[in-house]
Structures are given as C-alpha cells and as structure tokens.
C-alpha cells in the first residue's frame, strides 16, 4: 500500500496532458468561496504591526485554541493547532507508536492512503479490516484483529473514500477496543461539516485517555492550502505531542491562523449549511445520472466522494486513463485505496460539472 499523492499526481498529470476536455473529479479541493471574514482577516493581518508577524505560541494562537476548546467542549490544554489535520494525524500516529508496546496499526480497507503511508514511514505494521457493503467498519471485525500488539486504530468519519458516516455505537466501541488493548484510537473528522444523516458523532463524545480527535478548517472553510488544523490529545499524550510539534514545525503559519480565527468567530452557520445543501444537490444529480449509466454506487452519508462501479470495467489505473481519454472524466482508481474496493472508482464532487460528468459516463457506458 503506497500513499495517495503519487497516484493522485499521476492521474492529474495524465488528465492535464489529455487533448480533449476532461472534468476533474480527482482532487478533494472545495470549489466554493471561503468565508468572507477569512478574506477580511487576511487583509487586516497584512497591515498589522511587526510583532504580529513573529512566532505565535508553538501550540497555536491562544484565542484560536480557546475558541476551538470552547466549541468542542474540551480543556484548552488538550488542543494543539497543527499544520492541517495531516500534521495532527502524523503527531498522533507517531506518539501512538512510540508510547505503546505494539507496532500494529488497524486501518480500514479501503483506506485514506496517507494513513497507510504514515504507517510505513513510521515502521508500523498495517492490518486492514475490510469495510462492510455500506462502507462502514464493523467494530466486531476490528475487535477480532486487535491484540496486545495493537498500537493504533485510525479511522475517518465521514469517510474518504466510502462516504460512510460511522454510527455513534461504532465510535464508542472503537474507543473501548483501544482501551482494552492499551492502544490509541485516532479519529479523523475533517468532513464533520458535511454530514447528510444528521447522525454523525464525534469521538469527543467519549471521555477517554485512549482517543485522539483530529480536524481542520481545510474542507469546512474551503482552504486546503492554508494548513490550519488541530488535534485534541488526551492528557497522557499532550505534552509529548506539543514537544514533537515544536521540534517538527515550531508552530503554524500565523497569517493563516489569524484569518481562520476571524472566520471561525464571524462566519454564520448558514455558510456551512448552504455549502452542505449545495453538495447534497450535486450528489443527488450525480447519482441520478449514474443510475442512467447503469452503475452501482455508494450513496454518501457524508463528505465529498462517491464510489461507483461499472460492470466489467474495474477501477484500475488503466481504466482511469481510458475514462479520461474516452469519456472525458477523471476519477481516482479504487485500487489506490486498497483491495476491498479495487473494482470501484472514486469521484470527488467538488466541481460544478459533476452532473455533466455523470452524463458523460452514462453516454460512455450506454
């Protein structure tokens, strides 16, 4: 299992080199506007006095951490502002492997490839648990592979790539399994603002020294390039995480933190609700057109992604390239995410041309 980006780049490069018009459904970059107050925050910061251009506290700007802690209902000391959810996850996985006796990392199959890449990088041993047909992880299947060698269980809900939203029971069980085996559950919740079920439950709902929650403003504020995220770490780990964060990055870029802080306070709930409704409508139009293409697909409960499968046309890189050349639609090969959905494709719905793409697929498979 390799990590996502080379595959991602390979697809993007191929799509960019194609002669015809190609609809990009590869990248997970929101295509809508960031909050207006985020732009205001950047403008104000650009005129700030020199001291505001210097190091913020290593663990993040104090008012931003306090705002996060208040919104999430956690002690501010547990909050570390990170270079996106990526660094928050990296810190959690690194300390999880360092502080527990085992080196096994339980991951879902299909997996968000960065978790697999980090497991390799950090010398962990990945154990894949296949998701069920709804794209969810069954806690009993996780329990069956968990042991004293388990250091980490890393999950993501709402899920990339399956679109599943894990039930509250699942999250609670996963924390319990981590506790039973003196391991750490790492719950990546970056798509929490895009829950279409109304039943998403954060792992923060369980008090435990055995869970970390990571999140970011990349998706909710449409700013994947800003690199502002956070981790909420249990007391037993947070000091080590802060030290590692400081020795890795010192701190997170201040203009981005300042702009996010402004946007976090001033953005009305409507901003998030409208983007969610907009995505829901897109998903609806896309999947309706997929029906016409005779595709099997997973109806997302959350997030941006639809996985689909076409009879006799598995989700290989070769078939991704054929779809680019012959249908004018670029998706990700299912095989980039593991074995369980190797026959499928992942389409990112962060393009206004989603419905047009599905129509192209319908024509192609007609």
């Amino acid at each position: 299992m390799d990590y996502e980006t080379p595959q991602f780049f390979r697809v993007m490069q191929y799509a960019n080199a194609a002669t015809g018009d190609v609809i990009d459904m590869v990248s997970g970059n929101p295509d809508w506007q960031p909050p207006a107050s985020l732009r205001d925050g950047l403008h104000d910061y650009a005129d700030a006095d020199p001291p505001e251009f210097q190091y913020p506290a290593s663990e993040g700007l104090a008012p931003l951490r306090e705002e996060i802690a208040a919104r999430r209902g956690v002690p501010v000391d547990q909050v570390v502002v990170t270079c996106g959810a990526g660094e928050a996850n990296h810190l959690a996985m690194t300390e999880g492997l360092a502080q527990h006796s085992g080196n096994e990392v339980i991951l879902a199959d299909p997996v968000y490839p960065y978790y697999a890449g980090r497991t390799n990088l950090l010398g962990g041993e990945a154990q894949y648990v296949p998701v069920d047909d709804a794209g969810r992880l069954d806690p009993e299947a996780v329990r069956a592979v968990a042991s004293e060698d388990t250091a980490l269980i890393v999950v993501n809900s709402p899920n990339n790539p399956t679109g599943a939203v894990y039930p509250g029971d699942t999250i609670r069980e996963l924390v319990a399994i981590a506790e039973e085996h003196d391991a750490l559950l790492v719950s990546d919740e970056v798509y929490d603002h895009f829950d279409y079920t109304g039943e998403f439950e954060s792992a923060l709902s369980v008090e435990s020294e055995h869970r970390v929650v990571t999140n970011s403003f990349s998706k909710s504020m449409a700013i994947t390039g800003f690199r502002v995220g956070y981790g909420i770490y249990p007391d037993r780990l947070v000091d080590r995480v802060r030290t590692r964060h400081m020795l890795t990055n010192l701190t997170v870029s201040r203009p981005a933190q300042q702009a996010v802080y402004r946007a976090l306070r001033e953005t009305p709930p409507d901003y998030y609700a409208e983007n969610r409704r907009h995505l829901e409508a897109r998903i609806d139009a896309f999947t309706t057109a997929l029906d016409a293409a005779g595709a099997e697909y997973s109806m997302p409960e959350g997030g941006f992604y639809v996985m689909a499968r076409f009879e006799g046309f598995p989700g290989t890189m070769a078939n991704v390239e054929r779809l680019i050349d012959e249908a004018g639609v670029a998706g990700m090969p299912g095989e980039a995410f593991g074995e369980r959905r190797a026959d499928w494709f992942r389409f990112a719905l962060v393009t206004p041309r989603a419905e047009e793409a599905a129509e192209r697929l319908a024509d192609y498979f007609a």
Copy 2:
C-alpha cells in the same frame, strides 16, 4: 540537554511577571518592518479566486521553488519549501539518522538547543565539540570525534548563540569529514543576510551528496511567524525528504508562500543592507556600553546575538532572574546552550532598547 523553548518561555514568563520595566533581549524576533511587497502580496492573495486557496504542490509553489533554485544556483528538484528552517532541519536530521548506519550526531557546544532537542527526539546520540574562544568550530576537533558511528554533523553559521561566522575552509572541511564517514553535514544558514565580515560562505559552495543546506525567510524578511523556509537536499536524499514532508505536513501554508514569493522578487537589496547596517550600529552601541560594564563579550561576526560574561556572575537561570529583577534586562542563560558557555549570557539585539539595556547592565555591575 533539553531544547530551547521551555527555558525561553520560563525566562519570558518571569520577565512578564516582573513589576518593573524589563528590556526583552530574549527572543530572536526581528523588530523591524517586513518588506512592503510582502504586505502587498498578502493583500493580493486575500482577494484571490477559490482555487488559489487550495493545496499548493507538496514541495512548494513552483515559482517560489524556481526563484530559490535560481538564486542559490541549484537544481530546482533539490529544493523543498518547508515550514520554516525548523522543518527543513527536522527532515534533514530524521533522514540523516534513518539513512546512515550510525546514530551519533556531532553538535557544537554551545548549541542551538533545537538541534539537541531533535537529536533526543529522534533517538540519536549527541556528541558535543566545544567551540574555540572565537565561538567557531575547529574542523580538526570535529574530525577527532567523527567515526563510522557518525550520522550527522549539524552546524549553524552565522551562529546562534556565539555570533561566529565559520570560514569557508571550515565549511569545506566539515563536508569532507561527512564524506569520509558516510555521514551528512547539515548547514543551517538562516542568518546569512546578517554577515558583518563579508566572508560568509554557504555550504552550497561545495558540491556534495553529503551536505544539506537549510534556510528561511524568517529572519531576512522579519517574519518568523510565517513559517516559510527551505532545504536543499542532495539527490540521494531528496525523494525520501519529499515523501516525509508530504506525510508530515502535506505542504506549507499558501498565503505565506505567496507573500514570500512576491517579496523575494520585489524587495530591493537595500532593504536587507539597511537592516544589516542598523543591526551593526546596534551591536556597536551595545558592546561599547558593555565595555563600560566591564563585561567580556564576543563581538558578533554575524547574526543578532551577543554573548557576554560578567566577573563572578555566571549565566545561570537564577542570575537571569536577578538581572530581570534588579537590572531590568532579560537575557538567556548561557547554560541553556551547553557547558562551554555556561558562564555567559546571550542577549538578542532585536530591540531598539539595546543600548539602554547595556547602560542598565553597566549601572548594575558598576
């Protein structure tokens, strides 16, 4: 040997809690204006279209990398834009330890404490080589401790804390020693714009697969909070470094990269020259007043820092606190940097009140 920040915070906290007026000579935050074009760059970026708010390439914005490569005379493929020089150094040290058989890390004493902290964090074994009276590292002293167990030699010129600028011969010898022992020289050059000797030589002057150069815009553009730096990595390591960078941070904050790129192209040489002259004048005034205080001190050849020693008053944390309370001057204790200069204090000259501080010291020690 612990890392700097807790000591740094401890001193800052103590100074902030003091009842009297205290001149801060602790932090290394430039107190002058960033380039005007940096502010322009941020304003422009704040009005950009949504796609510009999304992930830049993991290794950095292409035009920024190209500008860096052209200025430094290196192939663009060797340039990775990082979260400050801190991340560039972290990546170099991590890969240096991972890719070489030994685990010994040769450091100067006194040392910039983050190198020592990273060595501990990464499971390396620090070997300290005391600097000479001029604050320089003697390459023969390094050669005497280098062996097949050496993975890294980490140096910093212009040096924090001693103010030494290493001669070109030293840099070339250090690269040769790294080559002889199949190790990696990591040369941190963040103060290169503050060379008062005119003789600073970058380790880039030596072609080698055994040297990494790290740098940042934090000091040269007075933006320590932006977290934009870079590493120039040899071909044998650069792919691994890019992978590790991607799996650690994904990429560096884009508003900061964009503003730095603009400032890099548009800032006239006068901006840098004027800040350098300004600092030189400050150093002159500060050291003249230190003469009046009867202090021994190192005349900086580069950088922001003056180390000074007062007869019968060693650089302990207790004495730092006494200077805060009784003289109204906050410096760093020499013992925070190792043994060789444990009797000394480090004063950062990034305050317009530097001369006033020296006068306070003269009064105190009169």
